[in-house]
């Protein structure tokens, strides 16, 4: 029961979904199963949310270092949960969208989640600079190619790319930095992307097969 049933479920569901692609009357099966997944995921929120609360309440209870911040998490969580589940301050009634403008839920989203989200995202501007400083060094041939490609594209995005190479005659125009940048994006970049994608396609097919056939079962506890 403990080992065989899950393996059978995986095999059955996986095979069913592959076959359904070729059988017109079952063509919506994939969509339905995606919805099934979403529904199960909502049930899983009980586990996830419960875990989040448990972690922070334990910190509170034990007065672990930084327990004060756990109060912030717990209070924020319950405030938002109440705002969303009871649609507090929603201009419409229960049938209005939970994210209706003017509701407490949306106001908190706009003024707490959104600025935090976009600032975390904006950190990338700094990290992309520190990563280029550290990583783009001509340590070996591969790293040099990486560096040169990145540098040409970067240069092509500033006025200096054109300024430096404007003297190149039109019959050699591919060597002008902005054109070269376009050419790199269109040709070698495309080739690399394609090779990666074809490999990924095969990798997914192979892994899916291993899972469906029960060869790969670490996720279920490979307790042999």
């Amino acid at each position: 029961m403990r080992r065989q049933v899950p393996l059978f479920i995986t095999f059955f569901v996986g095979t069913l979904l592959i076959v359904s692609v070729f059988i017109p009357p079952m063509e919506n099966l994939g969509e339905d199963f995606t919805l099934f997944f979403d529904i199960i995921a909502v049930f899983a929120f009980f586990l996830g949310g419960g875990n989040l609360l448990r972690v922070h309440l334990t910190k509170l209870y034990r007065k672990s270092p930084d327990w004060g911040f756990s109060v912030v998490t717990v209070v924020g969580f319950f405030l938002m949960l109440a705002a969303g589940l009871f649609k507090i301050g929603n201009p419409g009634d229960i049938s209005a969208s939970v994210t209706a403008e003017g509701s407490m839920f949306q106001t908190m989203f706009n003024n707490v989640v959104l600025p935090l989200q976009s600032t975390m995202y904006a950190l990338l501007a700094f990290f992309i600079a520190s990563a280029s400083y550290r990583a783009f060094r001509a340590k070996n041939r591969e790293a040099t190619i990486l560096l040169v490609a990145a540098f040409i594209i970067l240069l092509g995005r500033t006025p200096f790319g054109m300024m430096l190479t404007a003297w190149i005659p039109d019959s050699w125009s591919v060597l002008q930095v902005p054109n070269l940048a376009i050419w790199i994006m269109n040709s070698p970049n495309l080739a690399g992307q394609r090779a990666i994608l074809i490999g990924i396609g095969l990798g997914v097919v192979s892994m899916s097969l291993r899972i469906i056939l029960g060869i790969e079962r670490t996720y279920l506890g490979d307790d042999r």
Partner: protein
């Protein structure tokens, strides 16, 4: 808490309180709820600066922002999951009474009873909380993993394998009018025949060598090794180019945040 950190906290609180007052004063002419609006903008600015402070090092302000973010956003997604999945998609298929309660259009259908499957699996998943019967949670997991494997098998085969192969059927000779014509019209213009042909050669050779790099069951030596080397180079150009191309978008994000601080909050720029 140490005295120095209390001092810092006090200074920050006072500064933001001043900002709040100034902002409210500024907004009072145009906004009805100007006190609340001013607070929200000031608070958003405080959170923005708290996150940016992480670049220097971890600090209590970042910790505050982080913990608030986690709590609020976790609840945000849970509420969204509840309303958009359970109320919108599940309840209208299973219960007329409940869909009436939530004011959702009831969706009767012959195969709706199948929607009990995820409900049962969801409940089985919650058995994970039980020490004794926790193993039963593996059933829904097996169902999910099977679904993912089955759906992605065909999806990736199509979009990542088949589609990319047929996209690479490129002609290596373009506008071909013989060797003589080719050499007499040879140039390096971006729209010239040679550059366009070169592009296709690079795509063809690049995809081939890239694939060879991914070969697992053959030692990368000899000709095969050389090809796989070229494959790595192509990949490196790809990575370098994508990296460089992304920089602009990332800087824009920072411009957006700083514009918020300088314009919406401080009013330094118009």
């Amino acid at each position: 808490m140490k005295r120095s950190s209390l001092l810092v906290l006090a200074v920050v609180v006072i500064l933001f309180a001043i900002s709040w007052i100034l902002k409210a004063n500024q907004l009072s002419a145009t906004e009805e709820n100007y006190i609340l609006e001013a607070f929200l903008i000031t608070f958003a600015a405080f959170l923005t600066l708290s996150v940016l402070s992480f670049l220097y090092k971890d600090n209590p302000f970042y910790k505050f922002a982080e913990h608030l973010f986690v709590g609020v956003s976790a609840a945000f997604w849970m509420c969204l999951g509840f309303w958009s999945t359970l109320v919108k998609n599940l309840i209208p298929r299973l219960s007329e009474g409940l869909s009436e309660f939530f004011n959702e259009p009831y969706m009767p259908g012959d195969y709706n009873f199948f929607f009990w499957i995820p409900v049962i699996l969801g409940i089985l998943l919650l058995m994970r909380l039980s020490k004794e019967h926790g193993w039963i949670a593996r059933w829904p997991l097996a169902f999910i993993v099977g679904t993912t494997a089955g759906l992605n098998f065909v999806r990736y085969l199509r979009s990542d394998f088949i589609e990319q192969i047929s996209a690479t059927f490129v002609p290596l000779l373009i506008e071909w009018q013989g060797v003589g014509h080719f050499f007499s019209n040879f140039n390096l213009a971006i729209d010239g025949q040679f550059v366009m042909m070169l592009s296709n050669w690079v795509i063809f050779v690049g995809v081939m060598c890239g694939l060879i790099y991914f070969f697992f069951s053959k030692e990368h030596t000899g000709v095969f090794g050389t090809a796989s080397r070229v494959g790595i180079w192509i990949l490196m150009i790809t990575f370098g180019a994508s990296f460089g191309y992304t920089v602009m978008g990332r800087i824009s994000l920072l411009v957006g945040r700083l514009t918020f601080l300088f314009k919406d909050w401080l009013g330094l720029i118009s």
